[in-house]
Amino acid sequence: MTISQRLNKENTAGYIFISLFIIGFLAFTIVPIGVSFVLSFTDYDILSAPTFIGLNNFKEMFQDPTFWQSMGVTFYYALVSVPLRLIFALLVAMVLVRPSKASGVYRAVYYLPSIIGSSVAVAVLWKRLFASDGAINALLAMVGLPGDTAWLAQTNTALWVLIILAVWQFGSSMLIFLSGLKQIPVSYYEAATIDGASGPKKFFSITLPMLTPVIFFNLVMQLINGFMAFTQCYIITGGKPLNTTLFYSVYMYQCSFQFNRMGYGCAMAWIMLILVAVMTGILFKTSNKWVYYESK
């Protein structure tokens, strides 16, 4: 066999094409995961050599009140903001699916926030919007409501400022739902109308089941991202007040890069990975109960 014949064998060609992925996957995912695993059992400040301390990082973590608080805050944030965002996205998609000349413009307007929402620009803007002398309070005062709430300084409102920012970015989920809605055959609705089904009945018996695969996929991906949210918390609240908005990944960042405790940070990362994996697993396990796949 000549070299060119050998290179043309499908097996060889396949590996040549994906070789970049294999190298990158090993170098930037597998090796870091291995390093992280080893370091999670050590005390490491990056300057001196790591010292093996067994399970002490994990033991310490379970007694660290800030760890538990950040975990609670993150769960609250993800489990509230992701479902809210998906519900909003679905509602608005149902409204916009109605054809009209302006629907392109409407779609663009609702979609815009999700395009820019993760930027630093919007984070600093949000901080100013909800400042005591910001636009939200000014607008509330204008319509006669109390306009002196310190949204970002109160323990019971600060996290909601971040949740509102997350829900505000429902646009891209809305687009996904819109394209899902358009794929539902009109004949289903026609048949339901002939059978005398009401609007809500159609929604719960046709629309919602047909969308469950899309909803499921988005729920999983967005929950993973929600648990890992970083930038908005880091810039807008920095975890304040009294750590009531301290996200898990921000606390992990503080431990590793501000207190120079890389080992502890790695251990925290592993706990989160396990939690997210278990949660994803549960979602997948229960998915055949509520996710409707047409081929079945």
């Binding site: 396949g14 040549i16 990158g24 930027s119 901080k127 890992m228």
Partner: protein, 279 residues
């Protein structure tokens, strides 16, 4: 007929009102960038400035610590363009391998790609930092660029979907004419998947432009900062905060995104609806 017309009018009014609420924050930012710093919070409830001023833009552009925003923008463009070019080239090659070649353990490697897609950056940021530190890459642009030359799962998926839509007969005809697998990729497939490449490029450019965490970790000198990181430092209350200038720079930092949004919306919508995901 009349009742239906009324309902249509109500529909449009409601949709417009809600749309206004949605983009009000952005409008407020843009308008505030033309206001005096004192006016921004005194007249926080009014959208229009008493008079349009561009001084915020000139003040803001001078930056901080002796580094102006022209440097930050240059850094951002350099990082984003290189990372995007790397992403598109590598993702196209990898996607072709997965979509058209039958090789051993393909499903295994495909599973690995799913894992790397689900793996949040936060999980591996600490060891990556340590590795890059040992390589002396921290403080340079390399950690923000090099990893993307090994494919981006989102792009690989998108391009794979596209390649699957191309009839296999095309490949086979070329093969009979003596074209090698690499020739088929370069001459037949590559020209046909340009729309998917553009979509991948747009998304990756926007994500790199917005990226904050990696820049925060891997860069340490203001002269190397991209716009996102510079904006955060600029808004820190340690300095006497000039909110007008901050809003001006925040607005400017969104201009590339706005341009993409307005000119290339078709690709954005397609990318989102075909892959069914956003990040």
């Amino acid at each position: 007929m009349n009742a239906r017309k009324n309902r249509t009018v109500v529909y449009h009014i409601l949709v417009c009102l809600f749309g206004l609420v949605m983009i009000y924050p952005v409008l407020w930012m843009i308008m505030s960038s033309f206001k005096n710093s004192s006016e921004i919070f005194q007249n926080a409830d009014s959208l229009l400035p008493t008079s349009f001023k561009f001084s915020n833009y000139t003040n803001g552009w001078s930056g901080f610590g002796g580094v102006s925003f022209s440097v930050f923008f240059k850094n951002s463009f350099l990082i984003c363009i290189l990372a995007t070019v790397g992403t598109v080239i590598s993702s196209a090659i990898i996607a072709y391998g997965f979509a058209r070649c039958n090789f051993k353990f393909r499903n295994f490697w495909f599973g690995c790609m799913l894992i790397s897609m689900m793996m949040p950056f936060q999980m591996i940021m600490i060891p990556q930092f340590i590795i890059f530190k040992k390589l002396n890459w921290v403080g340079t642009f390399l950690p923000l660029i090099v990893p993307y030359f090994f494919g981006l799962p989102f792009g690989i998926f998108l391009i794979m979907q596209f390649i699957r839509g191309i009839p296999k007969e095309l490949d086979e005809a070329a093969k009979i004419d003596g074209c090698s697998t690499y020739g088929i990729f370069g001459r037949i497939i590559l020209p046909l998947i340009v729309p998917a490449l553009i979509t991948t490029a747009i998304f990756q450019f926007m994500w790199r432009w917005d990226d904050f965490l990696a820049a925060l970790l891997f860069l340490n000198k203001p002269s190397r900062y991209p716009v996102s990181l510079a904006l955060k430092m600029f808004s820190d209350p340690s300095a006497q905060s000039d909110w007008g200038a901050m809003f001006a720079m925040a607005t400017l930092s969104l201009v590339p995104i706005f341009i993409i949004f307005i000119c290339l919306q078709k690709y954005l919508v397609e990318g989102i609806s075909t892959t069914g995901m956003k990040d």
